[in-house]
Point group: C2
Chain length 189, copies 2
């Protein structure tokens, strides 16, 4: 039960035990307790500078697709952990397989967004403005989940988005972390 | 002697033997004969389309510097040869070590060139225009040899420029080849 809670929340062992005690063994309640606790921790963590990390690469079998990636954390100590390294490898696989164009939403050019909004609202003439807005926002979310690495479903576990995996890792490793940049080459493309 | 000539010119075994015969064993003369012959061959080769090749990467020990590279050739057959693969690996090492900014001269922005020309000619006031031009051109050549991969001296053998190594490989493998693009990440830089 503790292991399951750790996996779900990314919280430390002791925090998970305490939360389960407090919730009298109720997983969902323990999660809520932890999320409140962890949320604050992550807010605090995410303001800390990340100047260390790793450059990682991946070449798909056959040498026609390759990825170069920079992931940052706070200390070289964490950068050298197996947990951090395997996270970097997973991200490289993700980028090779799911071909994102950007790391985060903020990087999508305004012109691209305007185009997506146009396409999304094209067939909605005559509907109430509130409904149109909701549908367009929904379609934009879908667009983000295709082109932004952080919003993509994780190829190894599509129930989670990459940003959720990142949050978990921040919780587990206890350091602020960031995916800084990546480059993906496809032969001749 | 044949091996030395092959290394210097990148020509095939038979061509080298013939040229040495024709030059009666004189290395320099044999080179001239081959360059004339090889030059034409390379001119012909360099107009052929290169749609195959490899994506190669290199991460320097410690994971603080990484390189992603695309090198093209004409056929997947050549892309799979050890010779082509080792050339790609050498290029990755070169980029990691010598940190070029561009593949070729044509990629240097005009503003950068103008700045370099300004710096080069700054201390030459009063000298004859012809001399100034010569000095400036010399300094520009030096600049290219620092920032352009093809003009850099090969770190494993600084007597040769990368473009000479490329020409040799084209001669040896008998296919047109091109260094298409590279990306170099340095942690936090």
């Amino acid at each position: 039960m503790v292991a399951e809670l750790r996996e779900k929340t990314g919280a430390g062992l002791l925090d998970c035990k305490k939360a389960l005690d407090e919730a009298q063994g109720n997983q969902e309640q323990a999660q809520t307790i932890l999320r409140k606790k962890l949320g604050g921790k992550i807010d605090k963590l995410s303001s800390r500078a990340t100047k260390e990390g790793l450059i990682e690469s991946y070449i798909h079998v056959g040498g026609k697709v390759g990825v170069l990636l920079e992931v940052n954390c706070e200390t070289d100590f964490v950068a050298k952990t197996d947990d951090f390294k395997s996270f970097c490898r997973d991200l490289c696989l993700q980028i090779a397989a799911a071909n994102p164009s950007y790391v985060r939403r903020e990087e999508v050019p305004e012109a691209e967004l305007a185009k997506e909004r146009d396409i999304a609202s094209a067939s909605l003439a005559g509907k109430p403005a509130a409904a149109v807005q909701k549908i367009v926002e929904g379609k934009l979310e879908k667009y983000y989940s295709q082109v932004c690495l952080l919003d993509q479903p994780f190829v190894k576990n599509p129930d989670k988005m990459i940003k959720e995996i990142l949050t978990e890792k921040v919780g587990i490793l206890g350091e602020n972390m960031g995916i800084r940049r990546f480059t993906r080459y496809q032969l001749g493309a």
